[in-house]
């Protein structure tokens, strides 16, 4: 099979890398696709044997040859004639004495002298044997031949050409043999003539003659009904004839004697077939077939059937299937099943002849069916036939059936494999693969073009490589794929083609649908294979396995590149990255997608550890281990000169993981650390590991970047930007700070202070100039000035004594009340500058105040300038449990990448390398502090403020140390000394101690602070600057185009301290004030954010002040009694004394001028929504308020004697004072004093207490109706008199007050001035503008006799 060995490495030409070449399919013949079939067919024909049931290989004529040099050629011929062999041929059982004898006299041209004699001799022969004789003259003259060398080759080629066609194997064996060395071309011509003469003159006439004779002999059988009747009669009645004609052969088949009519008929048909009278032959065959069938001579019947089919095919090309296919099918079936073993050969002959005829007629659609009648037991032959069948599927006229092709190619491959023809099996399987691949992935084939171009340049050897590239591809038919890959792999192993085999096995393992048992087997085989192959190449090329490039790409385990994370400085806590530090105190957020268009998204500093986290998952159901897992990286140095030096010192270090064990289906996270030493761009290109400690695998990690969508082309065909997720930049200028949180507590008692610190160490080689700190809950933290430290011992020390020292400044000179001017700006104070400089002048003229306020970089009192390398910076932070509950506090440090010491502005704080920490803090309750407000009866100016303090701790006594109130208007004085409780022992008289679960109340009276009352300021701006500021700013914000920019003016706060303990705490002049105001700011911001969600954060500072004039903030300092000297404070801010201050609605009234015109409906809508929301808010939250309060004071009592001794009644003078709480409005009021007798008429039932008993015993006298007006914060008094019939205590708090606010000038103006209808009318006015008030509580006076 030398021909086969050449072809078996190549696939059939129609399978190209681009897919199935339909042109080749349509034009090519099948034969060259499998040359071994052609050889087989020829060999088969050569070795055909005669069979007794047909006359095909039986002799028709016999040639007897005599030489002319013979003296008596006739005698010699006669002697030959009587030779036993000739006799046997002549009297052959099938030939039946009808073999033609042909006599040939051969003359050698060398005997020139005998020319006359030859004619004579030939005459003798002719006379003796008649027509069937001829004379052949050939030359054997040596001189003649040698004269023309060219001629000699020509002669030889006549034979060798012929041989190579008819007997290719023999021809190959005798390739160098020279045929006809003594002949010339003339002799060849003579030989051809002689043969032709013999055929034309003798053989054909002889056969024609035979046909005529036989036709006569069998005529009656072929003619219609009579013949049939005759034959039937003979069969049934002439028993003797039957016995003579049928014979049973040795193998058990029935056949006929040569002189039986059936045999004669067959012979007649055969002869006429040979002479191309197919129509006649077919009719005779059909008759004979019928006879054979009736005689149950199945072999003969099958032969006749076969010939009928052949005749039909020879006659009619376009015959329908039923006409010939059934004949062949019948014939093959008969040969196979009704006859004995040798007839398999005949059956196969039928199939092959049929197939060849079909091919000749291009009736391919019948061919597979025909070919596949071959039983599968035939081994290699079956493979051969299946392969041919597969090819015929491709030649189907309408479209090539690739899937059928691959199926039968697979069958063929299996048959070849069984009969151990590995090369052919491999070829078949490979064709299946390619066919499957091309039919499945037609679309992806275009991208393979480049590979092909490259491989052609490298010559034919690379053809295999391109095949291997296809291995990775797969159809989705998993078991087909795995079967084919496995078979191919095994074949490759058997031919020691290890590289290819490895590829196939890897493709096998990539499939996760394979059952576990098979997977384990495949894995085992793969490892075994690798060991074998490395053994085999060890002697020759040792470097093949050690070279990193040759490490294989294997699909197991799966590494998802998109899940890969790059983490800088993995040992440190917190979330690292470049964060965008936003303005307005929002949390710094990671920059999601890099807008800076650098190659690497991430940066790290030189020498910094970078952890790469990879998600590795095992798709198999069996466990595997990965050893020496490491990463391959590509490093591009920034500095061109440096790249040459890389050889000596590596630019980076990659750690490796010794062993990763993956169970079946398990997913594991592997962390690899890279330490870069040079500046540049580092990209991770792949992972390297040893699979099961044996197989070196290289796995490329590649990700497509963002899908580009900029141009039309990019939208049509998906294009991706280069990915940056798997790379990072090594930047020497990149700040690298190590940040540690020291001594941060897990739990805190609510209100208590705890000292912690943030330790920042500069690890980079450059000083770091700008460092900022951000805190999520600014009310939880008090950041103090940072200090540099060189040793860690200081930190520990300060951590140990983390009590309240330093937080609270104790002083003995705490004033009871003092007024301090403080800033009233609502700052965002979640961001602190630790290092760096802020601009000295906070407001540059060009910048509007609002922006500056919103930026709000809060600068600590003493920020350091820069942090040099290896220096440590400690930022002390006080943490206070501000609210009870579990909190997640976030803390972020940021270092800007700016090199020089620049002045920090908003821009430099945009992007900083940051580290974000989450701190979990649980705050447990300690004290619960509630405030409540009562009106004071004694004095209408005053309010009673009660503070209820409850100790929530189960087992701790808490001492109250100090209370501090701050307000812009009120001064608070304790109503009684603490020891009036009687709770305290004599030892601690001054202190207030609250036991577990105890509650105490502290009462204070709030009265206007002296200076605030004394100044008789009439303008409301002076009385309540913050409120007026808000009204104006809000009005401008709503109605004007220009948003307000000015910040609120400072406010004079009255601090009222009540020292309960031994020493007071200075919270006015110490840094505590800063913290308290910051936490107040954060609280107030949250409040405002919730109340006015439609106002953006950045406008809050210019709209609302930090303190309202009439609000009261309360701070309660306490310390624990017992071992731990914990102390803390609680605060309540914005205590509302119930005075009317829903002033905000006033801002909703449009101003007289400067209303921005809104052309767009949307803008108008927006404004209206804003107004509505503010109005809703203020009506919703405000409780019922009393703008005026009335107090009644008894002046004197006089008894009036009417006539008798006993006093008839008493007269009492009372002062009735009406006080205006409002700072905004002057009120007109009508006061009606009501006598108890009239009460049912005037006072609505249910308003007051029950007036039974002595009620009717007294009455007002004089005028009871007073019309007056009262200025803001002013009061009016009325003297009234009442008469009482008897002495005793009576309730005289009976009055009705009708109040109407006096319209201020601006309001009346605004109401009247609006000529055109606007969306806003003045419906948003204070609701206290008109109301009726009734007494809230009784007012008892003692009317006593003198």
């Amino acid at each position: 099979m030398s021909v086969a060995s050449d072809a078996e490495r190549k696939c059939a030409p129609f399978l190209t890398d681009q897919g199935v070449d339909t042109n080749v399919l349509a034009t090519d013949d099948i034969d060259p696709w499998a040359p071994w079939y052609t050889i087989f067919r020829q060999q088969w024909i050569n070795e055909m044997q005669a069979s007794e049931h047909e006359s095909f290989i039986h002799p028709v004529a016999c040639m007897l040859v005599a030489s002319s040099s013979e003296d008596d050629p006739v005698g010699a011929l006669r002697a030959l004639q009587s030779h036993a062999t000739i006799k046997r041929v002549h009297s052959n059982s099938f030939g039946g004495h009808s073999v033609l004898l042909y006599y040939l006299l051969v003359h050698d041209g060398r005997d020139t002298g005998a020319l006359q004699k030859i004619d004579q001799k030939f005459d003798q022969v002719r006379r003796a044997f008649g027509q069937n004789s001829s004379l052949l003259k050939i030359n054997s003259n040596v001189e003649l031949i040698e004269a023309d060398n060219n001629d000699r080759e020509k002669v030889s080629s006549v034979w060798s050409n012929n041989l190579s066609i008819t007997q290719p194997l023999a021809a190959a064996a005798m390739a160098d043999k020279v045929f006809g060395s003594m002949l010339t071309m003339r002799d060849v011509a003579a030989l051809k003539d002689s043969v032709k003469q013999m055929m034309v003159r003798s053989v054909v006439p002889h056969m024609q003659c035979m046909i005529r004779v036989l036709s006569d002999q069998t005529a009656n059988q072929r003619r219609g009904i009579t013949g049939r009747l005759f034959s039937a009669g003979r069969r049934y009645f002439g028993a003797s004839a039957k016995t003579t004609s049928t014979l049973v052969a040795v193998d058990g088949d029935v056949y006929f004697r040569y002189d039986s009519p059936e045999a004669l008929m067959r012979k007649l048909a055969d002869y006429s077939f040979m002479l191309k009278d197919f129509r006649f032959a077919q009719s005779v065959y059909q008759v004979a077939r019928r006879d054979f069938q009736s005689e149950k001579a199945w072999k003969c019947y099958a032969g006749a059937q076969e010939m009928v089919g052949v005749c039909k095919l020879m006659l009619e090309i376009h015959a329908s299937r039923a006409e010939f296919d059934s004949n062949f099918e019948d014939a093959a079936a008969m040969y196979f099943h009704k006859t004995q073993t040798p007839c398999q050969y005949l059956a196969l002959r039928t199939i092959i002849i049929y197939y060849e005829l079909l091919k000749h007629n291009k009736l391919y659609s019948f061919a597979p069916g025909a070919l596949l009648r071959t039983p599968s037991s035939m081994g290699a032959l079956y493979g051969l036939v299946s392969e041919q069948a597969a090819y015929t599927y491709l030649k189907f006229s309408h479209h090539p059936e690739l899937r059928k092709f691959s199926f039968y190619a697979m069958i063929a491959g299996q048959a070849y494999k069984k009969s151990e023809i590995g090369g052919l099996a491999h070829r078949c399987f490979r064709m299946v693969r390619m066919a499957l691949y091309t039919s499945m992935n037609k679309s992806s084939s275009s991208c393979k073009n480049e590979d092909k171009d490259g491989s052609e340049a490298h010559g034919a050897n690379n053809k295999d490589d391109t095949d291997i590239q296809h291995i990775a591809a797969s159809s989705n038919w998993t078991s087909i794929d795995s079967f084919i890959n496995h078979e191919l792999g095994l074949q490759c192993i058997s031919t020691q083609n290890y590289d290819e085999a490895l590829q196939y096995f890897m493709a096998l393992l990539s499939d996760d649908h394979i059952p576990a048992k098979l997977q384990a087997k495949y894995l085992q085989e793969l490892l075994q294979l690798f060991l074998e192959s490395s053994d085999s190449v060890a002697g020759e090329v040792k470097t093949a396995t050690t070279k990193p490039g040759t490490a294989m790409e294997l699909s197991i385990p799966a590494i998802d590149p998109s899940m890969t994370r790059v983490i800088m400085s993995p040992d440190l806590e917190g979330e690292d990255g470049i964060f965008e530090w936003r303005q307005g105190g929002a949390a710094p957020s990671r920059i999601a997608n890099n807008s800076l268009n650098t190659t690497a998204n991430l940066c790290c500093s030189i020498g910094e550890d970078v952890a790469i986290l990879l998600v590795v998952s095992n798709p198999l159901t069996v466990g595997i281990t990965l050893n020496g897992f490491t990463l391959a990286c590509d490093f591009k140095s920034v500095d061109e000169d440096l790249s040459t030096l890389e050889v000596t010192s590596p630019a980076f270090d990659v750690s490796s993981v010794d062993s990763v064990v993956l169970e079946g289906g398990q997913t594991v996270m592997v962390s690899v650390t890279i330490t870069p030493y040079c500046a540049g761009d580092l990209e991770i290109i792949g992972a390297k590991y040893l699979l099961c400690d044996i197989l070196p695998v290289y796995k490329p990690l590649k990700l497509p970047g963002r899908r580009l969508n900029d141009t039309a082309e990019q939208r049509i065909t998906p294009t991706y930007s280069p990915d940056t997720r798997l790379g990072f930049r090594v930047d020497p200028d990149f700040p690298r700070l190590e940040v540690f949180l020291d001594d941060f507590p897990d739990t805190l008692v609510s209100g208590s202070m705890h000292r912690a610190s943030v330790r920042i160490i500069n690890r980079s080689s450059h000083p770091c100039y700008n460092i900022a700190l951000w805190l999520s809950h600014s009310s939880f933290f008090d950041v103090r000035s940072p200090e540099k430290s060189d040793s860690n011992s200081d930190v520990l020390e300060s951590g140990e004594c983390s009590n309240t020292q330093g937080m609270y400044v104790y002083s003995d000179s705490v004033q009871e009340a003092e007024q301090v001017q403080v800033t009233n700006v609502l700052r965002e104070c979640s961001m602190f500058v630790i290092a760096g400089q802020t601009s000295s002048s906070p407001v540059s003229p060009s910048l509007s105040g609002s922006e500056d306020a919103a930026r709000s970089l809060h600068q600590l009192p003493k920020p350091i300038e820069s942090l040099s390398p290896k220096e440590t910076l400690i930022v002390p932070i006080w943490i206070r449990g501000d609210r009870v509950g579990a909190h997640t506090l976030r803390l972020a440090t940021g270092a800007s990448m700016a090199q020089a010491a620049t002045v920090l502005s908003g821009a430099t704080f945009c992007n900083m390398r940051s580290r974000m920490f989450d701190i979990d803090l649980v705050v447990t309750p300690s004290l619960r502090v509630n405030a409540f407000v009562r009106p004071s009866i004694r004095n209408p100016h005053e309010r009673i403020l009660g503070i209820e303090v409850e100790n929530m701790q189960p087992a701790l006594d808490i001492e109250l140390v100090q209370t501090t109130f701050s307000s812009g208007y009120y001064k608070l004085t304790p109503l009684y000394t603490p020891n009036s409780f009687g709770l305290e022992t004599s030892n601690h008289q001054d202190r207030l101690r609250v036991g577990p679960h105890q509650t105490i109340n502290l009462m204070y009276s709030a009265s206007p602070y002296g200076s605030a009352v004394d100044t008789k300021c009439t303008a409301s701006e002076e009385r309540a600057p913050s409120e007026m500021f808000t009204i104006n700013a809000l009005r401008q914000y709503i109605f004007s185009n220009e948003k307000p920019t000015t910040l609120p003016p400072p406010i004079a706060l009255v601090y009222s301290n009540a020292v309960l303990g031994k020493r007071g705490i200075d919270c006015v002049h110490s840094s505590l004030q800063g913290y308290i105001s910051r936490s107040q700011a954060s609280r107030r911001r949250n409040l405002l954010r919730g109340a006015y969600p439609l106002i953006p954060d950045k406008y809050l500072p210019v709209l609302f002040p930090l303190y309202e004039t009439f609000g009261i903030d309360f701070v309660l300092f306490w310390s624990e009694v017992g071992g731990s000297c914990r102390s803390g404070h609680h605060s309540i801010s914005g205590i509302d004394l119930g005075v009317p201050h829903d002033y905000i609605v006033e801002a909703l009234n449009p101003p007289s001028k400067g209303i921005a015109r809104t052309w767009l409906k949307d803008t108008m809508q927006e404004r209206e929504t804003l107004i509505q929301s503010i109005a809703d808010r203020s009506t919703m939250t405000r409780r019922q308020e009393r703008p005026l309060d009335v107090s009644i004071k008894l002046i004197n009592v006089s008894s009036s004697v009417s006539s008798g001794d006993a006093p008839a009644f008493y007269l009492a003078d009372v002062d009735i004072t009406v006080y205006n709480h409002s700072w905004r409005h002057a009120y007109d009021f009508a006061l009606d004093l009501i006598s108890p007798t009239e009460i049912s008429k005037l006072v609505p039932i249910g308003v007051r207490l029950d007036y039974s008993g002595s009620r009717s015993a007294w009455s007002w006298c004089g005028t009871t109706h007073h019309l007056m007006s009262v200025a803001p914060h002013g009061s009016k008094s009325v003297r009234a008199r009442l008469a009482c019939s008897s002495a005793g205590i009576i309730d005289i708090g009976l009055w009705e007050l009708n109040v109407q606010a006096r319209q201020t000038d601006s309001q009346t103006l605004s109401l009247s001035d609006i000529s055109r209808p606007t969306t806003v009318d003045s419906k948003y006015t204070s609701k206290n503008i008109e109301c009726t008030l009734y007494p809230l509580q009784p007012c008892f006076v003692n009317i006593a006799a003198n």
């Binding site: 479209h399 059936e401 691959s406």
Partner: protein, 134 residues
């Protein structure tokens, strides 16, 4: 019954969306089942033009195995490899399978012509096979 059934839903892109084996089957035959069904796809294309019905009856046979096919309007082919010939039950099996396939298709999270991984679908098909085939 000792017969083998192999059922596959082949998407319009010629890749199997769902495969199942019912009855008795041997592991070494799985690839042959796939091969036979895969090869029969060629004949389905021919058989499509001969009838209006979705159910194409037996389109191919290999030795003892018959392959019946059912083509949905979206050119998704339900292929069943079976030994016994029982046209009616196979027809109803196919019809019901088609219904389930349509229900799967209506799932907004299911991408047409992607493998069907739903457990519920698998259970339903197995129930159908028990009902009609086994």
């Amino acid at each position: 019954m000792s017969t083998t059934y192999y059922f596959a839903i082949v998407g319009a892109t010629d890749s199997p969306l769902y495969e199942a084996e019912f009855g008795i089957h041997r592991a070494e035959n799985t690839h042959l089942h796939q091969f036979v069904v895969h090869a029969a796809l060629d004949l389905v294309e021919d058989a499509l033009f001969l009838t209006n019905a979705c159910y194409l009856k037996t389109v191919d046979k290999y030795n003892d195995w018959n392959v019946s096919a059912y083509v949905t309007p979206s050119n998704v082919r339900l292929m069943l490899l079976h030994e016994a010939r029982s046209e009616d039950s196979i027809r109803s099996f196919f019809t019901d399978c088609h219904e389930f396939y349509i229900k799967t298709l209506m799932n907004p999270f299911y991408e047409p012509n992607s493998p069907i991984l739903s457990q519920a679908f698998d259970t339903k098909i197995n129930t159908l096979a028990k009902k009609y085939l086994l």
